[in-house]
Amino acid sequence: MLKKILAVLAASLFSVTAALAVDYSGKTVTMWIPFKAGGGSDTWARAIGPAFSANLPGNPTVVVKNVTDGKAIGASNKYFAEHGKDKDGMVVFGTSGSVQMPFIFKDERVRYNYKNMVPIFASGTGGVVYVRKEMGVTDIIKDFDKFKSSKLVYGSQGKTSLDAVPILAFDMMGVDVNVVYGMKGRKAGRAAILRGETTVDYQTTASYLKHVRPLVEKGEMVPIMTWGAPIGGKVERDPNFPDLPAFPEVYEAVTGNKFKGTEAKSWTALFYAGFATQKYVMLPKSAKKDVVKAWQNAAAAIVNDPAAMKVLNKKLGKYDQVTGSKALKSALKKATSIDSKSEKFLQSWKDTK
């Protein structure tokens, strides 16, 4: 009798665990992307989608859903309104620097909170600053006086976008850059420097490699610095461009100050949000533990799969893809939180000029 009971108990226990084990077979998992189809985040999502499909239990179909209702902020709010309490991980959220920036700048429209999200996978990128050849600057540290006295014009999308990183950097170096707003994305900025209307510009690594490096080889443009890459908790030289100094290094050389204090802290916060770990796959905090685990395991498997990584590296430049609960949590914290002093500084800086 006891045996029988035990057997039933064991069987029921087994069936409970079987029901709990995450299995997506035959299901369709959605990646909610708050951006248009064809853009950078969409391309990224469509690149990692199949990789997740191959590595999640049950190999679900992974589809990308572009939600553009109310632009990035509105579409992100909508995700949390509709899926913020989901448990099953059937709809995951993909963010980018453009979702992090308004959060950091405390745009009053933002209704999402990164504290309510669990990161699964993060991709970083870098950025390269370059100038037109005519400026005659080849080494920003040695030629800094020349750089400073040149006519500096930068085409920007707005101060509370990713462009906060370059504009604050110029301010910190004490160079007087004429910032012209109203550029529709970094592509428009690149078009303007090609036409010679602006003289200094930056592009993210992928776009730099594809579109600017050929011009550098032809001798039309000159790269002068990168934003750097997060190495050992500090912003160091970008391994993709070991010959170019990173901004903190340039700052220390040209101003003579240490890269410390409120300004430097604020810039670093913006850099983390906009570049270091720019794009995240996330689940709502309400997701069940084994759902989170299944996704995190899949993410780890992708990073260990050389074929998938080759595709990703090609699209985003060779940067760390962050996985693993601990690393992700500290990365996300850096990308989305900011100490009160820096926050105060950024708020007043935003309203100047």
Partner: protein, 679 residues
């Protein structure tokens, strides 16, 4: 570097024909035709353009063999601007952005029973335009760099101003009413984030809480297709419903429509050539965008042909002009896309995303290293255009029969289609609500002769003018600007365009004076409408005043001008006698006709599915609406109504499934969890 044609013409031809061979042999031809077929369908459905169509293809493109993937995407992109003519001509609703101007004369031709003629003339022009774009792309891809770079922000500003200057040639008999409409369009264009200062404008955040759904929606700006569909389709459908007739005023369609279209095309070959050139040239310059090209070429057609009195009432040349340019712009827009990786249109922007997924990186090195792929793209463009045009011409005649059916029977399907198309713009409730608002305003604009085209042009160019005006002022000093040759040439062209606009309006004056006094009679609603417009202009000035200088200068200036024009019209109306051209009320002509339905009743029909959706959700309400409308208002058999509504449900479910889209839920859905698709 010597000009390319001197040193590598042989290599070029070799690559060119090798690319043709890859396209027409093997699996790529299959994918090309598949792309063409999808593109035709996407173009026919209002609200779905090349941008939406291509983004649907992207997931399938990933992992395909590059040549096949390119063939499929190009097949789709090349024919959207061809098939979007069907709804434009048949029901007066542009199938996508590039068919806006086709409505102007295409729809009146359909009313005359000449739908097949208009369609086939449009398809031949479109085919020619597409091929022209492909040839141009082949010839200039290697030398286009300096041309594109010569267009700085100053030149782009002048191009946008040139776009606005064509308003004069397209507006009704009162220039000030046209200007008021253009200002209103610019104000609608100002809604959302300001380009220079990144502030939210005109989103009611001064009255409502920032997280109110209305404020959130308006913060993203109003989508182009929402405005285009509501401004053109809404009043037309209301009018057709009121008269309770078929679109075509004749029961029988004219014979030999197909052949006649070809003849029209051939006898206007120079117009086609000129408009194709305009389309490619403007497409070539990234930044202005494709949405004003058709208006520019429509205006060009109107000003350069003889006997243009019938433009807007069904002149075939008003169809041929914009159709030639709307398709030739894709070839032009591909040049900056492939050369710099900077897309020249919405469609090419997505195409670029697709190319990157295929492992093809458009950019400056592509011309040197992957010329064969560029030729693959060009050939796909050309071959797809030929396939697309053949299919469309073959369908023109049978589909035109739709225009002989009583409109009340077609209406519920069209209304569902339009509501769906509008909703698809950004897939939010706000699309439907604001489309209704703008649609109702458009009904009155039509009634009182405020040019809807002017509103559209103002809307389309609002952002460009503001952005480039500000940037030009930053980049150039006055004297630097006036030594730029292209800038000066564009000023001349704009001046000429304004001059011909004035000439056309003067001519219209003579015609207007001979019209009946009844049409131009004084009436109270005209005053009410004018006061409403003045209130909008004052509201704009009032609520943007607290913004930063860069954010408010443009909307306030536009608001002031609009108010000024309203005052001028008011003074004209005050001092003029009944019968003067400043008065215009189509309603006066209809008063004696007792068979006509009331205006508000038909507007109510139009928006009734929306009210229903608030309670039971969009999906259920649309099918129900079709059923009720057919059985109660159109009075067709119960069986037919039932089958029709089930058909609509199935079609919507299929779209929802393939496009991964959800329909707006109602109160019912928030209480009860329902299965797909009614959730």
């Amino acid at each position: 570097m010597p000009p390319f044609f001197l040193y590598d013409i042989n290599i070029m031809f070799e690559a060119l024909f090798a690319a043709l061979a890859t396209i027409v042999s093997g699996p790529s031809l299959f994918f090309l035709i598949l792309g063409v077929l999808i593109g035709l369908v996407v173009g026919v459905i209002p609200g779905f353009g090349g941008t939406v169509g291509l983004s649907l293809l992207l997931p399938f493109v990933f992992g395909m063999e590059p040549v096949s993937g390119i063939a499929m995407m190009m097949g789709l992109l090349s024919v959207v601007a061809t098939s979007d003519t069907f709804p434009a001509v048949l029901i007066g609703v542009p199938g996508s952005v590039s068919a806006q101007a086709t409505v102007m004369d295409g729809f009146p031709l359909a009313k005359k029973g000449q739908a097949a003629r208009a369609l086939s003339a449009a398809f031949f022009s479109s085919l020619f335009g597409g091929l022209f774009g492909a040839v141009l792309l082949t010839m200039v891809i290697q030398i286009a760099k300096p041309i594109i770079l010569a267009f700085g922000t100053g030149e782009m500003l002048m191009l946008a101003i040139f776009g606005i200057s064509v308003v004069g040639t397209l507006t009704g008999s009162s220039i000030f009413k046209g200007l008021v409409a253009a200002c209103l369009g610019m104000i609608i264009g100002c809604i959302g984030i300001s380009p220079a200062s990144s502030e939210y404008r005109l989103d009611f955040s001064t009255i409502l809480e920032v997280q109110n759904p209305v404020v959130m929606y308006l913060g993203g700006g109003i989508h182009l297709m929402v405005v285009a569909i509501s401004i053109f389709a809404f009043p037309e459908i209301v009018e057709l419903l009121r008269s309770n007739k078929a679109v075509s005023e004749k029961a029988e369609l004219e014979k030999s429509g197909w052949f006649k279209g070809l003849r029209d095309f051939l006898s206007n070959k120079f117009l086609v050539l000129r408009c194709s050139f305009i389309g490619s040239l403007i497409g070539l310059i990234p930044g202005i965008g494709g949405s004003c090209i058709d208006w520019i070429s429509y205006s060009h057609a109107k000003t350069t042909v003889k006997n243009n009195e019938n433009f807007g009432k069904g002149d075939i040349r008003g169809v041929i002009g914009p159709e030639s340019s709307s398709n030739s712009k894709e070839g032009g827009a591909l040049i900056p896309t492939l050369l710099f990786g900077i897309p020249g249109s919405g469609g090419t922007a997505i195409l670029m995303g697709g190319l990157i997924l295929l492992g093809v990186d458009p950019g400056i090195t592509m011309v040197d290293t992957q010329l064969d792929l560029i030729y693959t793209i060009i050939w796909s463009l050309a071959v797809a255009n030929i396939f697309g045009a053949i299919i469309c011409v073959a369908m023109a005649k049978p589909i035109s029969q739709l225009t002989t059916i009583n409109f009340t029977i077609l209406a519920p399907f069209l209304i569902s289609l339009i509501l769906f198309a509008i909703f698809n713009s950004t897939r939010s409730w706000g699309d439907l609500i604001f489309a209704t608002f703008i649609g109702v305003i458009a009904v009155y604009m039509k009634r009182f002769d405020y040019s809807r085209v002017a509103l559209m042009i103002g809307f389309v160019l609002s952002d460009s003018i503001e952005t480039y005006l500000y940037q030009t002022m930053q980049f150039y000093t006055f004297s630097e600007l006036f030594i730029r040759p292209i800038f000066l040439v564009l000023i001349l062209i704009s001046a000429f365009s304004i001059y011909s606009g004035i000439k056309i309006i003067n001519k219209k004056d003579k015609i207007a004076n001979t019209k009946s006094d009844l049409l131009n009679a004084k009436s109270r609603p005209q005053w009410i409408f004018l006061i409403l417009l003045s209130v909008i202009s004052l509201y704009t000035i009032f609520v943007t005043d607290h913004l930063q200088y860069l954010g408010k200068i443009f909307p306030i200036s536009v608001g002031l001008f609009m108010f000024l024009f309203c005052i001028i019209i008011g003074i004209q109306m005050f001092i003029s006698k009944s019968g003067s051209k400043v008065f215009h009320d189509v309603e006066n002509l209809l008063l004696e006709n007792t068979e006509i339905r009331s205006q508000w009743l038909t507007i109510f029909w139009f928006i009734s599915p929306l009210f229903l959706s608030v309670f039971i959700g969009f999906y259920i309400s649309i099918g129900l609406f079709v059923f009720i409308f057919l059985s109660k208002i159109a009075r067709v058999s119960f069986r037919f109504s039932l089958i029709s509504s089930i058909g609509v449900w199935i079609a919507l479910a299929a779209i929802s499934h393939f496009m991964i889209m959800d329909f707006p839920p109602g109160i019912l859905q928030s209480y009860i969890e329902l299965p797909w698709p009614i959730n």
